[in-house]
Amino acid sequence: MNVIEARDVVKRYGEFVAVDGINFGVAGGEFFGLLGPNGAGKTSAIRMMYGFSPVTSGRMKVFGMDIETDWREIRTRLGVCQQENTLDPDLTVEQNLLLYARYFEKEQTRARERAEELLAFFALTHKRNAQVIELSGGLARRLQLARALVSDPELLILDEPTTGLDPQSRHQLWDRLAELKKRGLTMLLTTHYMDEAESLCDRLLIMDHGRIIAEGRPRDLIAEHAAESVIEIEAPDAALKDYIREHQVKHDDLGERIIIYAQANGTLESEVRARFCSAACLFRAGNLEDVFLRLTGRELRE
């Protein structure tokens, strides 16, 4: 049985369709990614998962239960790390954890033990009596994640958990998330950082305009929609463009730059290197960002 199961889920705000009939499932123990440009419907989808927003039509099931009717039971078993800081600024780090555990009616001695574990796990023990208002962005984010875990959830929903963090904090958070995955926690992540999704997620889907436009494992998506190997060529000349047309090479023409999708160590790669790389050429591995931009386009959304 899937932990999350979305069937023809639609979310409408008046006339505007934010989520336009999505179907997907997340298996137990999976690290699942939900990607898409701003306004694609990610946050709406997430809010329906924990029963914050009502589903307009279709069915959203979590732990095999319907979120419309069994929202309280479902919310007891999942944790949400929201995009915005929703910590209590007037309370200490430890109080934030203990009071949040109360909402789950967690027994107080057990809550204290759990808070202790989480303070250690997120390297917050030395800050236990600090006021939240004094915490840096990275510390606050760690605390918010710790708070989402205080109820010992079976599913953790992470809405852009690393946005705005410095590289050190991001890496530390990734490290903690990888550790949680090892312990068997099911996680659902949204992010705008493709490297983050690529390295953390077992499987992911890309949404645009409320619909799912691709789904699969990061590697497979890269192979299918981009390529193992990518060549970026600055200021392409006519000869290169002719060559591309002649050989029907998979590419994107950005005007001042051409991106060629090739197989690693294939003939295309060596030929391009030999014939067209007198000026600036960049050879690199294909990544999820290529997939994302190819599928959702390069135009600004807002």
Partner: protein, 263 residues
Amino acid sequence: MNHVDLHAISFRFRHVWIRNLITYRRIWRVNFLVPLLEPGFYILAFGLGFSGLIGVVHYAGLDLSYTRFMAPALVATACMWNAFFETTYASFVRMYYQKTFDGILATPVSLEEMIVAEIVWAASKSAAAVTVMLLVLIPLGYAAFPGALMCIPLAFLAGLAFAAIGMYFTGVIPSIDMFNLPIFLFITPMFLFSGTFFPVSGIPDWAGIFTLLFPLYHLVELTRYFCIGAMESNALFNLAYLVLFTVIFGYLALRAMKRRLIK
């Protein structure tokens, strides 16, 4: 899920009440100075400055000094201000600036429970403030002992009424600056025309009808009854009005907050 679900209200609301209490404990020493000192200021100012002009006030067949007439009204207005400010400015800050409500709504606590907790918390603050005021008024002889102690549960009940209408305004107001409007159009006239500073029997009948709609009028009558043992209306009617007001605006508050928060 967009309509108010009364079945979603359980005793679980107490956790949000406790959250507010623990947050408040950090600043209570400062906050308690207000109800402690406020009656002193008023009684001093009106006693020294006003009594000479007015002499005695005729109320419910009694001749009262002006300060004795006014002291019970101070208890009532403190109850009103405490509850109303809590569910307007303080709740708005929690909802809009601190995102506290968003955090709570990711837990098994329902929106209905969270709003009930805010209202009950505000009423608790009213009762606490009135308790502190009585510590001043009873020794000074402005409130009869032990009858005046009834003002404490009464302040809780009336606090629910003022908190409910405050919460309703929080549910419909676009920005925090706009609370000036309900304060200017509703709270201020109520503060002045509820038999607080002069007996309602002295004003024309047409104006008295408006007074009857103000929950503060009913509360002032009741606090006066418990503090000096006399009133000009029917205590049961006053209580019934406060309960009715709480039920109506409690429901409207839930509906407004649900519309505002759940999209």
